[in-house]
């Protein structure tokens, strides 16, 4: 049984042994990291480590190794801690050097004046589960991870249970051996005893059971209605390599020592700040990072760790690519009411990715505006289908009320000294589905205008200006924005496709449900892999094709300089790129270019048509 591994159950023991051997040689720190990295490299070994995402906190052993798939939501100030301290062994009365790394607390009787004390620096990141992670992604990663059986050594003294996980919709969980809610009455009021203070902004406060205490503590999730454990991750090495909004898989030592929640010892901080920075460990556990793997994607169907595995997987899938694409296209065509062109564009949009930036210009973004969407619940259905395909997504219904009231842009709260999240704080490659069909006439107030501006900036520059009160700070992002609207969207977009339904099903709901049901899970899984994979492929243009494209451009402009602008060339180059990638081709062929030109022409003729139909279309 894999859980017999000491390095998973008692990682601190491993650390301490190495520290004891080292004789204060500072190299031991590197050795520890090396060791854990080595252990995790072994085949399958990383799946033995229980995941905070899947296992309720109270089933995890304190001070054991766990992993956490998350997004860095906020970075707190660096803190100094006792890296090495001296204490008196009560039995032998001798002075002992102890290691304080990867721990929150020290044993008492620390000699604060010892010369052997080493002060070291670490930083705390506030991490939340990846916002908008699709249910299927959660489910699959949950199933595929070798389920760590809740340890029998479950310590009953740890009564504080994670309220988050318990209320979580765990229908997906196959094992039903979770304890019934009998222990609910034992719940202690959480730490600071300010349960009276209602957090008004708590977005996740959907009181499903009376025991749900989430409304008392705002866990600061970017998206409303999110659940899952938030975590304070203590980072020791490579502080500069982490950035806000990075998605990481963190392997670290879980710490839930109740001492951490003792409050009110120093009045340096405001109560708000204390709550934000030292929440009860039973709600927000601490994780001492040993190893972090940046995630390129959070699609559990794709191998993510060892690179050799991945390349083998990619090459095997490449063969299938064209056929999967055809199937997916057919599927999307059905979904888009028989509109093949729109389906083609939707497919391209789903694999788009900002692959680089040239000074301020993000390259590769492909914001799609599907106009002419049927009203009623069509867009909602469409979103559900997109959600089934991509690992991360969020639907923002742009009703007047949400635009005026919702917080899209993260804002620094100086009282609590934390970054209050907003809906635009998303992981890379999240699909943001803006539903403009929900927008009605009326007045946007100033926050509404700010929100619309933020969306516009996001689309045009792929960046979000976080509000730091005294100044703004720009954070680049990489979000796929899909706008559905009746007419042309009021937001900018890279490409607008008016939807031309070929079929008009009498009952839209039923129609879409049938299409969706008709797909086998294995089929859908193929689509999922396809979409994630196509994005990761490399791409290049040969000199020869470059030349051809240039010639083509000059020719097009010769006939009518107004018809093709630099902007159009930008778009066509992106379309050509995505088109090639969608077929599994990593270089642009002349053919590919012609196809890109062709579909762009079709699309443009369609918009022209729309214009002449409506007349007043700008």
């Amino acid at each position: 049984m894999p859980s017999s591994h000491d390095w998973i159950n008692k990682p601190l023991g491993v650390v301490e042994a190495m520290f004891a051997q080292s004789n204060s040689n500072p190299e031991w720190e590197a050795k520890v990291l090396e060791y854990f990295k080595g252990q995790l490299k072994e085949k399958e070994s990383h799946s033995w480590v229980p995941s905070l995402n899947d296992v309720p906190l109270h089933y995890l052993k304190p001070n054991s190794l766990v992993k956490f798939r998350c997004l860095v939501q906020d970075m707190f100030d660096p803190e100094f801690y006792m890296g090495v301290y001296e204490t008196v062994d009560p039995s032998t009365k001798a002075n002992v050097l102890r290691c304080g790394k990867y721990k929150d607390v020290t044993e008492c009787g620390v000699d604060l004046n010892s010369r052997n004390t080493v002060t070291a620096e670490r930083q705390t990141f506030y991490c939340v589960p990846i916002p908008g992670e699709s249910p299927w992604a959660k489910e699959i990663s949950f199933l595929s991870a070798a389920r760590v059986v809740p340890s029998t050594s479950y310590v009953p003294s740890r009564q504080k249970r994670s309220y988050e996980e318990d209320d979580d919709d765990m229908d997906t969980q196959p094992q039903k051996q979770r304890e019934p809610h009998t222990e609910t009455p034992q719940i202690q009021p959480h730490g600071n005893g300010d349960s009276k203070r209602q957090e008004t902004e708590a977005p996740s406060s959907q009181t499903t059971t009376p025991s749900d205490c989430s409304s008392h503590l705002d866990l600061n999730f970017p998206l409303p209605g999110e659940r899952g454990p938030a975590c304070l991750v203590k980072v020791y090495e490579g502080l500069d390599s982490f950035k806000l909004n990075d998605t990481l898989e963190i392997y670290g030592i879980l710490s839930v020592n109740p001492v951490l929640t003792v409050l009110g010892e120093e009045n340096m901080e405001t109560p708000e700040e204390q709550r934000a920075h030292d929440p009860p460990a039973s709600l927000v556990p601490r994780l001492h990072m040993l190893y972090a793997r940046p995630l390129q994607h959070n699609n559990p169907l794709l191998p993510s760790a060892p690179t050799e595995d991945q390349s083998a997987f990619v090459s095997s899938f490449l063969v299938e690519m064209a056929s999967v694409r055809a199937e997916l296209l057919a599927y999307l065509t059905h979904v888009l009411l028989g509109d093949g062109l729109a389906a083609e564009y939707l497919l391209l949009h789903l694999i788009s990715d900002v692959y680089t930036r040239r000074d301020v210009l993000p390259l590769g973004k492909f914001t799609l505006n599907l106009s002419g969407c049927p009203l009623n619940s069509y867009t909602e259905r469409l979103y559900q289908i997109v959600q089934q395909l991509v690992p991360c997504s969020y639907r923002l219904s742009m009703s007047l009320h949400t635009m005026n009231s919702m917080r899209l842009v993260p804002k620094k709260d100086y009282v609590a000294n934390r970054l209050v999240s907003g809906a635009l704080q998303l992981a890379r490659n999240t699909s943001l589905f803006l539903d403009e069909t929900q927008l009605e006439q009326g007045q946007l107030d100033s926050s509404g205008v700010r929100n619309i501006t933020a969306l516009g900036n996001l689309i045009s520059w792929q960046k979000v200006d976080y509000d730091f009160s005294y100044h703004q700070m720009e954070f680049p992002c990489n979000i796929n924005v899909l706008v559905t609207s009746e007419g042309r969207s009021l937001l900018p977009s890279d490409c607008q496709v008016p939807l031309q339904p070929q079929v008009t099903p009498p009952n839209m709901e039923e129609y879409l449900t049938t299409i969706h049901m008709a797909q086998f899970t294995s089929q859908i899984n193929k689509f999922r892999v396809y979409l994630s994979l196509a994005r990761t492929l490399d791409y290049s243009i040969s000199d020869e094709v470059t030349k051809a494209v240039e010639d083509d451009f000059v020719d097009m402009r010769k006939d009518d300089p107004q018809s093709v602008t630099a902007e159009d060339l930008h778009r066509m180059l992106v379309v050509a790129r995505l088109l090639s990638l969608s077929l599994g081709q990593t270089t642009l062929s002349r053919d590919g270019w012609m196809r890109a030109k062709h579909i762009d022409m079709l699309r443009r003729s369609r918009t022209e048509q729309q214009k002449s139909l409506n007349g007043n279309e700008p």
Partner: protein
């Protein structure tokens, strides 16, 4: 002072009030090497013993020679009766000598001087500071330090060739404010060793400085009466600049960091000394704060009653304290991370010196305090709380309301960086290189980029306020107009990202208020607060305004003042003031008819008032050239953008960071002046420009154009890192100016460049035609004889019938207006009356 040499020994107030282990570790190491005295002979066990928490604080084996020990430790008697003021900023609660004076073992954290075996050299325990030498050195520094090149404004009015700090002491004796600010860089240049000691052991060295300066002061001005003794406040420690670079090594050292105040707390009274009185015998005793705690005496020493002492609040000593949160300034941050914050404690008169939003430089001592142990728990958090005890605040933006502030913008350049920049500047094609490095993703438009480059550098600031003209504008303003989709916005975005104080607004969304400043009532204090808008925020920077044409007229009107006078006047809700807004404006405007109409003038195309246009030094058109060769190059450029790898791009172009530094360096250090030839060239250029028009009876250049030329020439000299504006600079300025004019001020009717399009909004030919129509109309009316009134519409029809050229209604109305101005007729409704 009776025995100055021995006084300090016992009175060293350095009791490590907030002692932290790290510092001790460091000190332990420090003093163990070098020719330092042996450590006090306390065995290790002693250190670990609970005696640490004792009140026993210091003692000295040389106690017997310390008669004047009261000097520093009594709060009331100081040098010649001037009271000493406590310095909680140094954590130096002085210890009352109430412990057994003859203890042989010096306790661990007391301030103890030990004697070096070799001679009489005494150093403070744990450091290599000898009080006597240190004092002497500092006195010598005060008496001798001269900085003839000083340009700090604190030193305004002082004779730079006399010892600087002696003059400051004199100032203190006159003004009576007993604070002496000492620039650490002065100390460093005077005595590097003293500086090192000051940085490493501020807690010990600064009180020594205090003593030194007081001795010196009262020697010189024996009759001065001060509120308390002079306190030395060092500032500008060179060691640390950036909050991010603080690390455990800096604990207990003196540091200077810059940042922005984000929050200040209420005033906190902090007990410095508790006064206890025995309930039984009324015996009183004082207990000093030790690490934030008061140890209540359990036994009365007088009557030996236990637990009889009660705290008397109003006889205890308190000091003011304030917590201030400081956030690092945005410029110091690596991309993609959040700003760090630090807690700062201000004491006594530094309380309430700063407000949230202020940008400040803080000099202080960095502290780390371990979490307190809770006796009821077996474990304790292993984290230290860190903060800075502030010694000196320096606001970096307070001078924004008046003179230019050199300090805040001054980026520190390393030697190597300066070297690379200079090497770059020496290249003959630096101008071309830099302009092509600007927004490489935007294709060609070389002249526009060059124009923007010059804007980034700006002209030389000139002050004519003495002759009554006030400041001369040094900033270059540029307007880009052209078809939509010609990457104007992208260019603006790039510039905005390049300059440290850039602001980006869109004309559509901004109001006059958002651009300038507005008055807000603070919800808490009910105080009126002036909030600054984009233009004021970009003072000394560039304000990028997109969609300039969409801006409302009232908003635009505020730009008039900003763009020429470089100030903003505000009269609102009882606040009347003038703010500096020395900002360059980079604006982009779209033509009214969505497509540029080549048959119309610039003014007609963008519909902006000419009064505003004439304030732009350069107006560029960004048009689609519609020519095959251009298309090909454009296509090549774009395709390359999509497939070239990161490295290839970097080889071709200068790094954005280098460009940033280059501009920052040139803006701070280079101030070119016109040389003789260049002035001649400028005069000639101006005369030439005037001549062009005079042949056709119109004015083709105004002094404003000459000023533009000067600014551009200066900026070009800055690009070359040259202190002189030479003929080459003037040539380039002329060329660029001409290019821009050619684009924007060509009269579409005649094909001539006509500056009056921009200055008066109408080309000379158009004006001439207006005149003609008016004359024709007048003639026609006169020919009809004496009719007092006529119908408007009929008159219009008649005129149209009569004239050979087509006459529009606008032209007709203009002619009527012209005649009305002559008092020839008036127009009332539909009738025209003769006067």
């Amino acid at each position: 002072m009776s025995s100055p040499t021995s006084t300090p020994v016992g009175s060293k107030p350095s009791s490590d009030g907030l002692a932290s282990p790290p510092s001790q570790r460091r000190r332990g190491q420090d003093s163990s090497n070098g020719d330092l005295p042996a450590m006090p002979t306390s065995p290790a066990t002693d250190i670990a013993s609970p005696a640490v928490h004792d009140t026993s604080l210091f003692s000295s084996p040389r106690r017997s020679v310390l008669p004047s020990e009261v000097d520093m430790s009594s709060p009331l008697i100081g040098v010649r009766g001037t009271p000493v003021r406590q310095r909680p900023d140094l954590g130096s609660a002085r210890k009352a000598p109430q412990v057994d004076l003859h203890t042989e073992l010096p306790s661990a954290d007391g301030a103890v001087a030990s004697e070096q075996a070799a001679g009489q050299k005494l150093v403070i325990w744990g450091t290599d500071v000898n009080v006597g030498t240190c004092k002497e050195k500092f006195q010598r520094f005060l008496q001798r330090f001269i900085d003839p090149t000083s340009n700090e404004d604190e030193n305004a009015g002082l004779d730079l060739n006399e010892p600087l700090y002696m003059q400051k002491l004199e100032e203190i004796s006159v003004i009576g404010e007993p604070v002496l600010n000492v620039n650490c860089s002065h100390v460093q240049s005077f005595d590097a060793d003293l500086y090192r000691q000051l940085i490493s052991y501020p807690q010990e060295v600064i009180p020594t400085f205090d003593m030194a300066v007081n001795e010196l002061f009262f020697e010189r001005f024996p009759d001065s009466i001060l509120e308390h003794q002079i306190q030395v406040r060092p500032y500008n420690a060179l060691k640390t600049r950036n909050m991010r670079s603080l690390n455990p090594e800096d604990i207990d050292q003196m540091i200077t960091i810059s940042g922005m105040v984000i929050r200040t707390s209420q005033l906190i009274p902090e007990m410095q000394e508790a006064f206890f009185q025995c309930q039984v015998c009324a015996f009183s005793t004082r207990v000093e704060v030790d690490r934030g705690r008061i140890a209540e005496p359990a036994v009365c020493r007088n009557c030996n009653t236990t637990h009889s002492l009660a705290l008397i609040h109003n006889r205890s000593a308190f000091s003011d304290k304030q917590m201030i949160k400081v956030q690092e300034s945005p410029d110091d941050m690596p991309a993609g991370q959040t700003p760090h914050t630090t807690i700062v404690y201000a004491h006594n008169d530094l309380v309430d010196k700063v407000q949230p939003g202020d940008r400040i430089n803080i000099t202080g001592i960095y502290r780390a305090v371990p979490m307190r142990e809770n006796p009821r728990q077996s474990t304790v958090k292993s984290v230290y709380k860190t903060h800075i005890d502030v010694i000196h605040f320096r606001k970096t933006d307070e001078k924004r309301l008046h003179g230019l502030d050199e300090d805040s913008d001054q980026k520190l350049f390393t030697e190597e960086r300066v070297q690379t920049l200079k090497e770059l500047a020496a290249k003959p094609d630096v101008y071309e290189r830099l302009s092509s490095a600007l927004a490489p993703s935007i294709y060609e438009q070389e002249d526009i980029k060059k124009g923007i480059l010059l804007q980034l550098f700006g002209g030389t600031r000139k002050d004519f306020s003495q002759t009554g003209r006030g400041n001369f504008r040094a900033e270059v303003n540029i307007l880009l107009c052209g078809d939509p989709g010609t990457s104007k916005s992208q260019l603006l975005q790039y510039v905005f990202n390049l300059v440290p104080r850039g602001q980006y607004t869109s004309g559509k969304g901004s109001s006059a208020v958002g651009l300038t400043a507005y008055v807000m009532k603070d919800p808490e204090t009910k105080q009126l607060v002036l909030q600054t808008g984009a233009l004021v925020l970009s003072d000394n920077g560039i304000c990028c305004i997109d969609e300039f044409d969409k801006m409302s007229d009232s908003t635009r009107s505020v730009l008039h003042e900003v763009m020429e006078q470089q100030t903003l006047s505000i009269a609102k809700a009882g606040i009347i003031c003038q703010l500096n807004a020395r900002t360059s404006v980079l604006a982009a405007a779209n033509p009214v008819e969505s497509q540029w109409n080549p048959k119309k003038t610039t003014i007609e195309n963008i519909q902006l008032p000419h009064t505003l246009l004439s304030r732009f030094d350069l107006i560029f058109l960004m048009l689609d050239p519609q020519d095959e060769a251009y298309d090909r190059r454009l296509a090549h450029h774009l395709v390359a953008l999509y497939y070239q790898s990161e490295e290839q791009i970097e080889e071709e172009f200068l790094d954005m960071a280098v460009l940033k530094d280059y501009i920052a360096y040139a803006r701070t250090y280079i101030n070119p002046r016109l040389n003789e030839e260049a002035s001649q060239a400028l005069i000639e250029a101006y005369v030439d420009m005037r001549k062009i028009g005079s042949g056709r009876g119109m004015v083709s250049a105004y002094p404003r154009q000459l000023e533009s030329l000067i600014r551009l020439a200066e900026a070009h000299a800055k690009v070359r890192f040259s202190d002189k504006v030479e003929t080459v600079d003037v040539e380039e300025a002329k060329r660029l100016h001409r290019e821009a004019l050619k684009q924007s001020a060509t009269d579409p009717r005649t094909g001539f460049v006509d500056i009056s399009i921009l200055t008066t909004g109408m080309s000379a030919t158009a004006r001439k035609r207006k005149e003609e129509v008016a004359q024709a109309l007048k003639k026609m009316i006169q020919s009809r004889g004496k009719i007092p009134a006529m119908k408007y519409q009929q008159l219009f029809d008649d005129l149209r019938g009569q004239s050979e050229a087509a006459i529009t209604k606008d032209m007709f109305e203009e002619a009527l207006r012209a005649l009305a101005d002559e008092d020839y007729l008036t127009v009332t409704g539909k009738t025209v009356r003769l006067l």
